[in-house]
Each structure stands twice: as C-alpha cells, then as structure tokens.
Subunit: 279 residues, 2 copies
C-alpha cells in the first residue's frame, strides 16, 4: 500500500508529514532549514531527518513513499531536479514552497494567495489550476515585501541626508543608529534581504511621513498585483507570511478575504495524494 | 623643492602625474585598477606602479611627493585612511575619484558635475567649496545610472512575463536571450552592477515602449537631482561618464552646460598643489 509524504521547507526549518491513502496522518517530523538552491546538501539532510522522524513507528520505509516537497529555492529547476534525483522515495516531486503553501491555504478551492514576509510571492488557483506570480527575489521583484520596504527606508534616509527629500524623525534615527551615510551604505552592501526586512518594526505603526510613504508604496504595489490577478474574475484572497496581517488590514473591503485552510505541509500531502488519484 | 603627485584610480585603471610647483608635468604613469575598498592591496600596488612610472627619469623619490589620490571606494573612510598610512609619500590625501573628477572638470570655477556611467555621483562647487551628493551605490542609490536602468529593464521583463505590464519586443528579446524568467533571476543574483550597466546598449536608441520608459525614468531622476542642486543659485553643469553625453542631450536647454576643463588626474594635481598654496 502506498504512503504519502508531504514536506514544507524554507529558510528557517523543514516539516514533514506521512499519511495513508485515506489522508490519515501517521507521523510528523521537523528538522533544520531546507533551501534547495542556497544549500542543497543541508536541504537533503534536513529533508531526510524530518522524514525519518515522521516514519518513526510506522513500519514504513522511505522507498514506500510518494513524496511532494515544497522547498525554498526550487524555482531554480536544476537544483530542484538534482535533489529529486538524490532522494530515496518511490516518487519525488520538488516544487517551490510557494506552491505547497498556496495548495495548503486554498485546499481544493479556487482563490488567490499572497504570501508576503521577507520576500513576496503570489499564486492563483482558478478552475483547479495553480499558477505562481512574482516571487522574483530582492534585486528584481518581491514587491511589497519587508526586504524591499526596508531598502526603501534606507534609500530615503540617504536621499534626505543629501537634501533630495524631507528629513523626518525616523530617517534621522535610522541614520544615527547605523553610523551615518557610510554606515547605511556598509549595511546595504553586506547584508542579506532578511536584514533589510528586520527594519520593518521601525516602519509598522510609526507616525512618521517617511514610514507612511514607504508603507503606502508597498500597499500600492500589492494592490496593483492583486487587482491584475482579480481581473480574470473575482476570487477570495488569503494573506500569508509575516506581513500577511498587515496587508489583510490595509486592503480590507476590496476583495473577499479568507483564512488559510491548512499549512504548506497539508498542501504538499494533498498534492502527493493527488498524484495517484489523478493517475 | 616639493613635487606634486596626482592620482586618479577606479575600477578599470589608475593614472598618475607628477608636477613641479609651477604646474609643469614632469612625468605620467598608468597601472591597473585601484578600488581602495574592494581591493586595497591591488590599489596600493597599482598606485605605486603608476607613481614609479611617472617618477622615472625625474630624479625624484616617492618621499619627495605631496600626493592627492582620487580613488574609487574612498567613501569608505577606514579603507582610505589605511591606504594613506601605507603610502611612502611626504603627504598622502585620499579622496573619492568623484572629488578629483569634479575638481578636474571644473578647475577653479564653480559648477555642478554629474558623473553618470555604471554608477552615478554628483558634485557641486559653490564659492570654491566642493560637496559630493549621491553616489550611494547600486543597492540604495546611483539614480539614473547604467546599472540601475539595466536592473529596471530586467525587472520590467519579469513583470511583463507575469502580465503585470505590457510585453514589448525588447522585453521579449531580453527574456529569450537570458533563458526566460529563471535565467533573468540567475543573472541578477550572480552579477555585479557593471553587468547590469552592460545592458544599456539595448536601451539607448531603441524604439521600444519599455526602453523609452526606463530611459525616461533615468532622465527624470537626474533632472530632479540637478534641479535640487540648482535651487541655491544657477550653476553650469558638466556631464561626465559613459552616459554623460546621453544626459547632456536629454537635458539640453535646461541649464548652462560646459565641457570638462580637465581630467581627474588634473584635479588631483591641482588639489595637491593647493595643499601648499593654501598652507
């Protein structure tokens, strides 16, 4: 009898669940980060560790499992394929964690998922077909994300110091805390996107013209993307991620909103079970 | 008798000139790149090599020289100070190459210098006092630069592929040449600013709505900065750098424009001679 494995892995950790073909969860597991592009070896060992924990006591073996893995970095298809080849499971399908998060949040229903935290990514399920939008990373995309808004904050601080836009109390504080223009430039050239996103607490709830302007830019970007995705026919929106609640409040009333039905692991498991149902 | 050394060094090379106190050039030299922040050891050895060539046949020694060095990366003051300490000259003053370029371009006159190529930096000389603006780098600044416009082009290509803005012939070509969405993301995550700036030939002169829009954004940014710098009283503008001619044409008629009076080495030499005149 086939068993099913769902994995959800990203920059902070990796979770696994094993289920039978009735959908009953037989075991779960957790392990460390699993970004298949930035750390393929770590991703492989953490996926295997989380799976071993989930299999513990079930009597099943890895080669009995039909697996769907939603992993950060899997948009780099060569990395995703290399991992799938290295895994011991009966079947291994590696997709991005955005896809499994969307499938988990929407279940079998149509809708739009906006997952916004350090980065941002969108998914639309229409007529049962799921498609990802955005999620292009800190340099070229990630509209409305914490990292992009943190970068806007720093760029504004530098421009204000040059007199190119008004200095505000928040911008002055940021410049002082970081060691002036030179400190801000050094921070920007030596830190990953998560460090920019860690500036978000300075922006959220701040009664400062620069903060309000940066937050408004984020809301405008996310609103424009969602409006485009709604244009083919209205769908309910599920907001996920560290800034999900912020955007749910900022965009309340524009479209129907829903709470997520399940997690990324739920989504991966549902996709794994669907592989045999559909076959 | 004191001799004077002027050095102008950046990412592509380093030039030196030695002059006497009447300003007569006694010798010149060239060597490799000299970015004092990204490659301090290389900067030191190339500065010394260019100086040795300039001193050849003059009978003078390094310890006879009063030196001003305009070097890329010198906005990181710790790196600039470390280099100044390591140099064998009688006096060593390390400033950014933007300062020496501005001094060379303006001579003893007041004016505004807009140096725009891979990056962008502005300088204003008013009443004989020189101040730098912008030049904050690819992540947070460099408004109107080739690298920033190249990044805009790629971001637009990704957004067009998602249907968030109109697809154009140029954007389609860029996507095809780079291997689609995944290729563009890979390019952006693994290349320095100069690689983004190398996309400029695709933009300049292209009769494509996306190209015109990106170029217009650059012109608007540079125009806004120059308008702000002109606000304290009109000054002639000197455009330098790989995109200098582009902006000189795009902004013709708005302000008086001038050709540069001299090079960055000329500026460094003038500053070195001014150190004793002013003392």
């Amino acid at each position: 009898m086939a068993l099913f494995l769902g994995i959800d892995g990203g920059g902070t950790g990796c979770r696994a669940a094993v289920a039978d073909d009735a959908g009953r969860i037989l075991g779960t597991g957790r392990a460390g980060p699993a970004n298949v592009n930035s750390d393929p070896d770590g991703a492989l060992s953490n996926v295997l560790a989380a799976t071993a924990e989930a299999l513990d006591g079930t009597g099943a073996r890895p080669q009995d499992l039909i697996a769907v893995l939603g992993l950060a970095g899997a948009n780099v298809t060569s990395a995703a394929q290399a991992l799938a080849t290295a895994l011991p499971f009966a079947q291994s399908h590696v997709v991005t964690d955005a896809v499994t998060a969307a499938r988990g949040a929407l279940g079998d229903t149509d809708g739009i998922v906006a997952a916004i935290g350090t980065g941002s990514v969108f998914a639309v399920c229409r007529g049962g077909r799921l498609r990802q939008y955005g999620g292009r990373g800190f340099v070229l995309g990630d509209e409305g994300s914490g990292a992009v808004m943190g970068r806007m904050l720093l760029a504004r601080a530098l421009r204000a110091e040059d007199g190119f836009e008004p200095m505000t109390p928040l911008l002055r504080t940021v410049l002082q805390d970081m060691g002036g223009i030179e400190g801000v430039i050094r921070f920007a050239s030596s830190n990953p996107p998560a460090a920019f996103a860690a500036l978000m607490p300075r922006l959220l709830g701040a009664d400062d013209p620069a903060a309000l302007s940066v937050l408004a830019a984020g809301v405008a970007d996310v609103r424009a993307i969602l409006a485009r995705l709604q244009a083919d026919g209205p769908l309910p929106v599920v907001f996920l991620g560290g800034l999900g609640a912020h955007y749910a409040a900022a965009l309340a009333g524009l479209w129907e909103q829903r709470a997520p039905l399940g997690s990324g692991v739920d989504g991966a498991l549902a996709m794994a079970r669907g592989l045999t149902v559909g076959a």
